[in-house]
Structure formats: structure tokens, C-alpha cells
Symmetry: C4
């Protein structure tokens, strides 16, 4: 798969995310791995619904450095962390939906447990609704380095798959390709809306 076709898919995914309302007020950021040492990350402050392929910056995974003078998104450190921790991951989507924001606050624990939903199978490797998919929830932090360190610590104890929530903030999710990351995002957002509605209905 060529880098150009993956970038075109990522731009299309950004437009779809914008239309879904999952990145309001220029929030969120998206990235694509180029190789073992670099990735492309969205420039800060751009509206995701109207991104083009010139709105991405080439960033070094090792130190978040950028070649030209442009400023990458503040949360670049979490994207590069994911690429360093998970060599098979090719794309990362960070979104701000109402459901991800609210559910990560309503759930006071350190993970959101998804169980009993057929849609769990939209997540690669899940075979049955009878299993439980735990989505880690990390407390939000304006210090991205500190947040990245907590994510890395968690990964050493329990390897990350699919994604994680940042409380009151949003979702990071990923996949080997843009298509897989997008399917994981679509599946997880569906599951968040189901889980939020279920909790309302069952007065939990």
C-alpha cells in the first residue's frame, strides 16, 4: 500500500469525521505512519472537515521533531508514543465526540467495559459478543509527556489494542491501516452511544 493512497484515505476519513461532528471547534488530530522513524500528523488548529494533504507535518517518532518551522498538534506526543509502542500500527485517529467525552466521565473507574454487543466484532480479532472488551480510561492531563508516560506504563502491564479514552477529553484509536483505524473508530463510537443509552435506560 503506497503512502499516497493511505494519505488520501486519511483525508477522506477526516472529512467523514468532520461530518459526524466528532471534531468540533478545530479539535482532534490524525496521523499516518510513514516508516519506522517518521509519521505525518495534522497541523494544529485546522478544521478536520475541510483538511487537505498539505495540512499534515512530517514528525520524527523519537523526539516529535519537525523538519520545517510549522507547529504540529499539541498532542503529537501521544501519536508518536503509539507508533513507538505498537510497530504494526499504521494510523491513529484522535477525536472529541460528546459520547466519548461524557461516558469517560460518567464511568469513574479506569476502564470502560463493553460486553454483550455484536458490534464488538468490528474490532479486529473480536469473535463474540460474549467477551468483554476493556477500553482503558486515563485521567486527562495538560502535560502530554506525563500522560504519555502513564499510557506507556499501562501498555507494559496490558498491551493497548484498538484505543483508549482520555477522561472528559476524547478517544485515541488506531489500526494497521487507515481503513482499520476508521472501522475501529466507527465501531467504538457506536458502542459508546449504545452504552450511554443503555445506562440511561437501565438507570445505572
Amino acid at each position: 500500500m503506497s503512502y499516497h493512497s493511505e494519505l488520501a484515505e486519511l483525508v477522506a476519513a477526516c472529512h467523514w469525521i468532520g461530518a459526524k461532528g466528532w471534531c468540533p471547534a478545530t479539535g482532534g488530530n490524525m496521523s499516518l505512519r510513514l516508516d519506522t522513524e517518521t509519521c505525518l500528523v495534522t497541523e494544529s488548529g485546522k478544521d478536520k472537515g475541510s483538511l487537505s494533504d498539505t495540512d499534515f507535518l512530517k514528525v520524527r517518532l523519537a523526539d516529535n521533531g519537525v523538519a520545517d518551522g510549522r507547529r504540529p498538534s499539541a498532542e503529537t506526543g501521544l501519536h508518536t508514543l503509539i507508533y513507538r509502542l505498537l510497530p504494526e500500527i499504521g494510523a491513529v485517529l484522535h477525536t472529541h465526540s460528546v459520547n466519548a467525552t461524557v461516558l469517560s466521565r460518567a464511568e469513574k473507574g479506569t476502564e470502560l467495559s463493553l460486553s454483550g454487543y455484536e458490534m464488538q466484532k468490528s474490532l479486529s480479532g473480536q469473535q463474540t459478543h460474549l467477551d468483554t472488551v476493556p477500553i482503558p480510561i486515563f485521567d486527562n492531563d495538560q502535560d502530554i509527556d506525563a500522560l504519555a508516560m502513564r499510557v506507556a506504563d499501562h501498555h507494559r502491564r496490558q498491551p493497548l489494542i484498538y484505543g483508549f479514552l482520555v477522561r472528559g477529553h476524547g478517544l485515541y484509536c488506531f489500526g494497521r491501516t487507515v481503513a482499520e483505524a476508521r472501522r475501529h473508530l466507527d465501531g467504538l463510537e457506536f458502542l459508546f452511544q449504545c452504552e450511554l443509552t443503555r445506562r440511561l435506560l437501565e438507570a445505572k
Copy 2:
């Protein structure tokens, strides 16, 4: 009614279903009866919002066999079952909406009773809001053969009409034509949203 015009209507219905958000993450599957022995079913893993008429496979009703080497949807067995059980049925729509998913979990019994809604009359043969329309709910199962057997057993005791829910999974609904199946889907999804909202409001 020609098979080509029905297929064109089914493709249009798939696009409408995609726009409604009732088949996220490439989920769901749709089919059309060709004759007493075969039907067309959507190929696995396709986005329903951008399907074309080449994304359907010809499947034998008797044994779910496919002529060429392509893979039909995993749930083909439920589509062919419906065509075997109900000779007058011409189209089957299987969707994954949030409302169908959550309501089929919140309702712990074996059916969802819809009553008091004028919209019940969007279901062929319903004459009044005073009647009760029972929509069967089957527990989800990754073994489609086993699930199909439970659906067939239920049908022998109480013939299926309009459709049924699979718990935490979604809706199967059908009609004599694509237009009728689509109207049943539209009506049922409206009724699910009403019923879910009513339960929230009346704290049931």
C-alpha cells in the same frame, strides 16, 4: 416486477440505510429473492452506504452455497431461512441501529410489544393503534445455524411477520418487495426510537 428494478431499489435502500447510520463499521447485510431457489446477498465487509449491484452474491436457499469463489456475509443463513419459511417474502434487510441494539437489551423478555402508536400502521396489515404488535427478540448467537434453528422453531409456533430483533445485535426485517421491506424498516426504527424515548420519559 423485474429483478433488475428490484435490485436498483435495494441498492438505493442500502444508500439510504448508510446515510441513516443504521449500518456502521461495514455491518449489516441485505438480500433479494431471485426465485424459489436462489437469492442475492451482500458480500461480506462492504460499506452499505456505497454499495453497487456488483457487491451482491447469488446464493442457493437450500444450502447457502455460492457459485463463484466469493464469500457471502456470515449471516446469510438467516436470510435464506426467511426465504424458505416465508414464500411470499422478496427482500430482507438486516441493520444495526443504536436503538434496535439497546432496546433489545433493555427489554429482558422474549418480545418487544409495540402498542398505542399510529405508526404501527406502516406495517402491512395493521389497522389500528389499539392492537399490539409483538416483535420477537432472540438471544444473540455466534452460531448462525443454532440461531436459525431457534428462529425456525419460533416461526412454527408463531409465524414471523415484519421482522425480529437479535439481542444486542440488530434487526432483521422483510417484505414482499424492497419497497415494503424498506417501509417496514422505516416504521420499525421510528417505533423503536419512540419506545426507547417513552421508556426514558416514563422512567420504566
Copy 3:
């Protein structure tokens, strides 16, 4: 105002109503007064989102009679009643939204009281949020003549303005022009959504 420009506005309003999802499953019906003796009413079973001006039938207000052999909507009798009772009314919109359907059931009384909302001023003649706008709720009935008689009785005691709800069924609303009827519909649907959400939030 010419009949042709009013009909064009009504067709545009139907497309807008279809896009809003307020007439699912070919439900609802719309009409336009032609003069003191006749009106145009939508033909039965048409999708409101794709109506054209040939989908209206000319109906006599006195007896719901139609000149040609086509079948007007089953609920034509309520449209002609409104034109007979209210000589200044020029357009009637009958819609089936989730909010109108559910709120008219959750409210067990004979009217929905709207109070404290600035948006009440979208209803012609309302000057302040401090007033209370009562929207009558009639129990649903498959006998349209019987329902029409109850509406007429109510009108003699308390004249209809803006519109009324039919329980578990939907809204009838109207105005002197299509534009006014549409603004009343837009305002009332907004108020229904507010009132439904307010009741959920305030656990009433």
C-alpha cells in the same frame, strides 16, 4: 399570492419535512386551501421528501369528494375540517415526529402546556415567554369522522390556533400561508424537543 407560488412553497416545505425525518414511512399529509370550497391534499402513500406538485388532489371542503378517481389521504377529513372551522387558514401540515408522538403519550392530560420559552414567539400573536401556550391533545382514533367531531367540539369551546396533537400519532399545525404554517411547525417541533428534554432532565 398566487396558488402556484404557494404550491411551490408547500412542495419545498414537504422536502424540508422529509429531510427532518418528520414523515417517515410515507406517513403524514399536507394541504393548501384553494378557495372557500376546495383545497389540495397530498395523495395517499407518497414519500414527503420527494413529492412533486402532481402528488396533490383537489378535494371539496364540504364532503371530502375528489373529482378524478385518485384516493386522497385517509386523514383528509381533518384537513377539510380545519379549513371549514378557520376561514383565514391557508395551509395545513400533518407530521409524525418522534417528539410529537412520545410527548403526546407522556403527557396524560388533554393539553401540552408550553411556558417559559422565548421560542413561543415563533407562533403568530405570542408576545412573551411568560404566557402559557396550550396545545390540545386528542386521543387517537381510526374513525376520522369521530376524531373530527371531537376536534370541532373542542374548537367551539376554545378556538384552535397553531395546531393540535393526536396522542401517539403526531401533530396537525397550520397558518394563513405556507410560510406561516412552516414557521409554526418549526417552532412547535423545537418546543416539543425542549419540553421532552426538560422533562428528562428535571425527572418530571
Copy 4:
């Protein structure tokens, strides 16, 4: 920044607001500062989703006077007040969303406190989700002069930033440019939807 490009951005923002459903039934009004003495305000009764640049009137900040005979929006006095109180403000957006309307009623106090949300950073100057952003709520009033006086009094005690709610009515929000005002609106509406959903979930 030229006045023409800012007006084009404001018209685009109005179309976006219309598509979001935040100005139903021709409600709401928008404005742009021209200089220290005048601003442009939307004419009364126009649909925001289809506004053009000829639908704005030039109004004097000092006395709400209009040069030609057209009628500015009834709430012009709040727009001009904001421009008089806050010399750096360049654009004001007044919208009527369901969430702003209902939350400003459900919250019985004199402000809505937003805290714990990353999205607070969409508001210029906010650095962390750990802070609390208070959005003042003023009781609604049909006497715009009296309401403006209460807003001005509040501003003297606690300077306005971002915007304020009018109970059961809607939101006024603003920024130095149209782009900033639009980002504040997008961020605040997101936060209102989160806060409303959080209160439902946490049964507060």
C-alpha cells in the same frame, strides 16, 4: 482584515448555524462590528440558513439607529451593548439551540459552571480542563433595554468573556473575529450537549 472578507465569513457561519439547527423558525441574529461607532446586524425574520450579505443592516452602536427604513432585529440592543462594553469584540452570534434553551432552565442558578472538559480550551485563553468556566445566565425579558442593563451591571462586577445564556431563550457568544466567535459557539454548544448528557447520566 477587510470588512468584506469578515462579512463573507459571517454569512458562511450563518449557513453553518442554519444547518446545525441552532436558529429554527427564523430566530437568532448575528452581527459584525464595522468600526468604533457602527455594526452590521441581521434584518428581522430572515432564515439564517439562507442569509446573504444584503440581509444585514448598518446600525449605530450608540442608539441602535438605522440609516434606511429597514427594521433591525428586536434584540439589536444586546449586540450593540456587547460592542460598547468590549472594544476588542468584532462579531456576535445569537443562537437558539435546544441544549442552550433547556440547560439554562434546568440550571436554576445565575451561571452554568463548565469544568473537567478538554473542550474548554476551545475558548480563547483557557489553558486547562481543571479550571471552571462560568457562563452567566440571565433571566429572559421581553424588555431588551432592561435585559441589557442587567447584562451591563453584571459586566461591571465580572467582565463578560465568550458569551452568556438567556434563560429559556438561547446563547449570545462573541469573539474578536468571526472565526473566533464561531469557534466559541462550536465549543460552547459541544460543552452544553456534554453537560446536559452528563446530568442525565449522573441523575443530577
